[in-house]
Amino acid sequence: MIDRDVISSAMYEAMRLAATQLPPDVDAALVAALEAESDPLARRHIEVSLENARAAAEGEGLVCADTGFPLFFITAGSRTQIEGGFGALHDAAAEATGRATADAYLRPTMVDPLTRANPGDNIGPGMPRVLLSFEGDGDGLEITAAPKGGGSEIFGTFYRMMYPSDGEAGILSFVLDAIREGCYAGKICPPAIVGVGIGGTADLCMALAKEAAVLRPIGVANPDPNVAALERKLFDAARNLGIGAMGAAGTSAVMAVNVETAVTHTAALPVAVNAQCLVGRRWRASISASGDVSFTGDPA
């Protein structure tokens, strides 16, 4: 039985770490992008961003001040038990988000969509977002906290319901247009991690794109060789659009293009794109059944 307060504390700490430290794979990918980039302004964008992130890691400020949407991706095992039941995850997430906002690790950014009223704590209907899935027969919890910045979410979300006859040409065309549009003038804060969902229902398609962008470690290809080949084609093409970091000239538009698929209706070919920005914030807390907690920036 995992204690509710242990979960809330772990969520707070994972959110604090995500807000103040680059995940190691993202840090390494930015360094690699800098080495491969030749455009002086694009290089400067990356250098400054790395320097800014180092300041945050040393206790000065945040990786990025737009801490965006507070998201928690949670995976439980079939034997996981939680004090107060699984519904306690929502309360724990709200408590962690409120604390992180009060301590200025999260900016109060969530507002009512119509009145635009800001409660000041990032808590309201739907937020923080808790996405629960089950995997394996374990008894622990894996919680990834991801403060997802506005730039990538607002300017980097695309969806189209295509049809089987649109085929791979349709997929390539749609995703490349989305990357160019999102990266123009640095709207999604490139070098971006581009998540692509193909298949499923409309909402599943978008969820696949988001998870591909936020949760997949950089440098890991889809295990299906056909999908991996599609990722490679899109990645290579994205690096040849004449767009670099933050929309400057150059080649560093993307750090990764990650594609996830789900089976879909025989009449449909839904495709979604969701981008993650260059700071790629996510930090994971692993909680054992006995309540031991460990943290890592390397995603599952």
Partner: protein
């Protein structure tokens, strides 16, 4: 961010603004005020403006700062310039209404703002990289805040005194030229070439179900 670049004193004079070249890197020193969507909408739709002397406090910084209240007063945690293009609906009117010579934000604005800046003799300066913690070091004083109760910390109007603030680069100059417009033309050509390499037929069109 250590290289020495030209520093200009705020408020910019018209000569200063018109002397800046597209792509030039610079820092600014003086007073800036902050705002985002709410300031724009309220200023133009409702005529609600913060009580500032805009001839003296003339640099509009597009940002929602992260602020922390401490014993001696407000402290800046991080200030990341936000995407200026979101304000394009109201920005040209605001630039004209307040005679703004300096906008600071993240990358590009539309032709309407570019034209308004050309008329008043003003520029848009874009951030370089993700830089909110580095900019924080250059805020010497939190001078005042307006609309904190109504709008909250993120959308309130803060006035900061800054010193060697930046560096930023000029992405819209006082003639209305836009740094990103030329890059856009180039990337459209590259996109067409990449579509060809990937074997997307030139006449490809998505299946139309409302023919």
């Amino acid at each position: 961010m250590n290289e020495t670049v030209r520093d200009l004193t705020l408020p910019l004079s018209e000569d200063d603004a018109r002397g800046l070249e597209l792509g030039e890197t610079l820092t600014v020193s003086g007073l800036v005020f902050t705002g985002r969507s709410r300031l724009h909408i309220r200023a133009i739709e409702q005529g609600i403006l913060p009580p500032l002397d805009f001839s003296a406090i003339n640099c509009f910084f597009h940002v929602g700062p992260v602020m922390r209240q401490t014993e001696p007063g407000w402290e800046v945690v991080s200030i990341e310039p936000t995407s200026s293009i979101r304000f394009e609906r109201y920005s040209p009117a605001l630039v004209r209404k307040l005679g703004l010579r300096t906008l600071i934000g993240k990358t590009t604005m539309g032709p309407g703002t570019a034209e308004a800046l050309r008329e008043v003799g003003g520029v848009h300066l874009s951030k370089i990289g993700v830089c909110g913690n580095l900019l924080r070091r250059q805020v010497k004083r939190v001078v005042e805040v307006h609309f904190l109760e109504e709008l909250g910390k993120t959308e309130a109007t803060w006035v900061f005194e800054v010193e060697r603030f930046g560096p930023f680069f000029v992405d819209i100059d006082a003639t209305g030229r836009n740094y990103f417009a030329e890059l856009d033309a180039h990337s459209r050509e590259r996109l067409a070439a990449m579509r060809g390499e990937l074997g997307i037929p030139e006449d490809f069109a998505y299946t139309e179900v409302n023919p």
